[in-house]
Amino acid sequence: SSRVPRKLFGEITSPGYPKPYPNNNNSIWNIQVPKGYVVKLTFRYFDLEPSQSCFYDYVKVKADKKNLGRYCGQLGSTTGNHPGRKEFVSKGNRMHLAFHSDFSNEDNGTVIPYRGFLAYYQAVDLDECDPKNAPGDDEAPQCQHFCHNYAGGYFCSCRTGYQLQSDHHSCKVECSSELFTEASGYLSSPEYPRPYPEDLRCNYSIRLQKGLSIILKFLEPFEIDDHQQVHCPYDQLKIQARGREIGEFCGKKSPGRIETNSNEVDILFLTDESGFSRGWKIHYTSQKIRCPQPVPWDQFTIIRDLQPVYQFQDYFVVSCKTGYNLMEGNQKLLSFTAVCQADGTWHQSMPRCEIVNCGSPSSLTNGAFSYVSKPANNTYQSVVTYRCNEPYYQIVTGTGSERFTCSAEGTWLDEDGQVRIPACLPVCGKPVNPITEVQR
């Protein structure tokens, strides 16, 4: 046997050709062309002893483990099996050729010189993308999506959104790190509204600037494999906002509209190896994040220009009614402003308003004060009046009076708005027990 050099074409001839082939000869040729090609073989000259079923001399062609025929005879002979102009084409890149001659070539005692054969083979590019050229009926097509043939081989490609896998054949959706940064948009399961592929591990991330809240609106149809008794055992659509689980969805009932209150939303879509559901589609929009409506603690708190809705970067100013102080814990505040933060919370909590306390009125030397107002305390608008220890002292009030009122500023003020309390001045020259002369 001989191994035919791996070339793209060539000739094979019977032994001694073009002279008659010898008796008792067995020759074998193994033709091999590069992978991606098939072998096409034709006989350009063929002259072998004819016999019934090519019993004596013959050429046998095999390819792909199949016999492609046993040939003998001469062009036009009635016996034998002349190949004529038949083209032998392999499915693989190999072809096997065997030649056999018996002990004689006689016809009624006359030796007849049969010249043998001249075969020409050539490598023909195999169109691997042609379904007919599939290696076997039970195997998948060459490419899951697109097949591209070229001389000596082929390659596969995938539809947009899919990625060719390492087997160079299958396509898988690339959805593990989908990022959406526009203020609004659409996202959907692969192939939506056609059934989604199996074994998905999709992760859709919406990332908007701080202070925006993402709103998800599910469109119809919504269809994810589910089970009547068990919650989402097959495929799951999980939605998280800033790591906080919003929900895990499946079935045919749309979640509708979801306000996430977050500028960062992650949507995970996990599928198993089977199913025929049509998937989901979300139209997401965004709006400035809202803060809770500010509510005063008490009736003395005034929220200036109260708005119906407070959004990110909005603020409100709090003051107190006259006579009340803004307090945070035990600390008195001069003013208060709260700003709506990016996370939808106020940057500081609502203060309370506490009635102004002037403290105990200043004590008056050689005198005293008493409360006019009831109850007797030192809070805003309480009134005290000062008096002196008469008749030894007389009260001096300056321009105001002896009545002092607790002011909104936390000080006791007289009717002229003065802080200074009255004074008790000695009364001169008025003895309680003056001398009296009786005798005249």
Binding site: N366, P426, G429, N433, I435
Partner: protein, 251 residues
């Protein structure tokens, strides 16, 4: 006080008993000033010439609120913060009591009551109180019949016209050449034995102002020729009002 009567508590609530160079008197102004005579602080011809006012203030004793000396002492003294002597007063001139007026500032204001009350100062323009015959009262813890008194006494005396005082003084002048200045007035009797005496110095001559219903200080017991042997001489407070008010008004 000679020829006087015992005062009852509350009759002269301004009366102060002082102890600086022996017994003296004074009167309460406001609630922390004592009006007195300068010579109770720097007596004429005193041996302690180099002593300072601060030291004297430290040593001075002032008592208020009673008519009995022992009781006054029991009630405790009122410490003096500072002493102010009129600049015209000259302790070296033994025959001139001009400027015999001083103020003691107490360290702590006193609490006024029935037995402790201040005396009023006269109106700047009112000279009626110094007219001849205008009666006034002088109280004091001074000598009575050669004995130092243990109780507050008082005597009523008429103010004497300036000419009369001068005339009486002139009749005595051959023996005692004392100056009778415009800043003094005299009061008392020539024959009746009613007068102030040693230990009454610094106490005040008061008059009752019927218009205001108040007792007003018009004089300070200053000097005399003997006791109850003629008129007594008093510092004329009216002439020192500016000086007094200038000091007292500071606070």
């Amino acid at each position: 006080i000679l020829g006087g009567k015992a005062a009852r508590r509350g009759n002269f609530p301004w009366q102060a008993l002082t102890g600086i160079h022996g017994r003296g008197g004074g009167a309460l102004l406001g609630d922390r000033w004592i009006l007195t005579a300068a010579h109770t602080i720097f007596p004429k011809g005193s041996g302690r010439k180099n002593v300072s006012l601060d030291q004297l203030a430290e040593e001075a004793n002032v008592f208020l609120g009673h008519t009995n000396v022992e009781e006054l002492h029991k009630m405790g003294n009122h410490p003096v913060r500072r002493i102010l002597i009129h600049p015209d007063y000259n302790p070296k001139d033994e025959h001139n009591f001009d400027g015999d007026i001083a103020l003691l500032e107490l360290k702590h204001p006193v609490t006024l009551g029935p037995t402790v009350l201040p005396i009023c100062l006269p109106d700047t323009t009112n000279t009626t109180f110094y007219m001849d015959g205008h009666m006034g009262y002088v109280s004091g813890f001074g000598v009575e019949k050669n004995f130092i008194s243990n109780d507050l006494k008082y005597v009523s005396l008429p103010a004497i016209a300036r000419e009369k005082c001068q005339r009486w003084l002139d009749s005595k002048k051959r023996n005692i050449p004392v100056v009778f200045s415009e800043n003094m007035f005299c009061a008392g009797f020539l024959t009746v034995k009613r007068d102030t005496c040693q230990g009454d110095s610094g106490s005040i001559f008061t008059v009752f102002d019927r218009e205001s219903g108040r007792w007003v200080a018009t004089g300070i017991v200053s000097w005399g020729i003997g006791c109850a042997e003629g008129y007594g001489f008093y510092t004329k407070i009216l002439n020192y009002l500016d000086w007094i008010k200038g000091i007292v008004r500071e606070d």
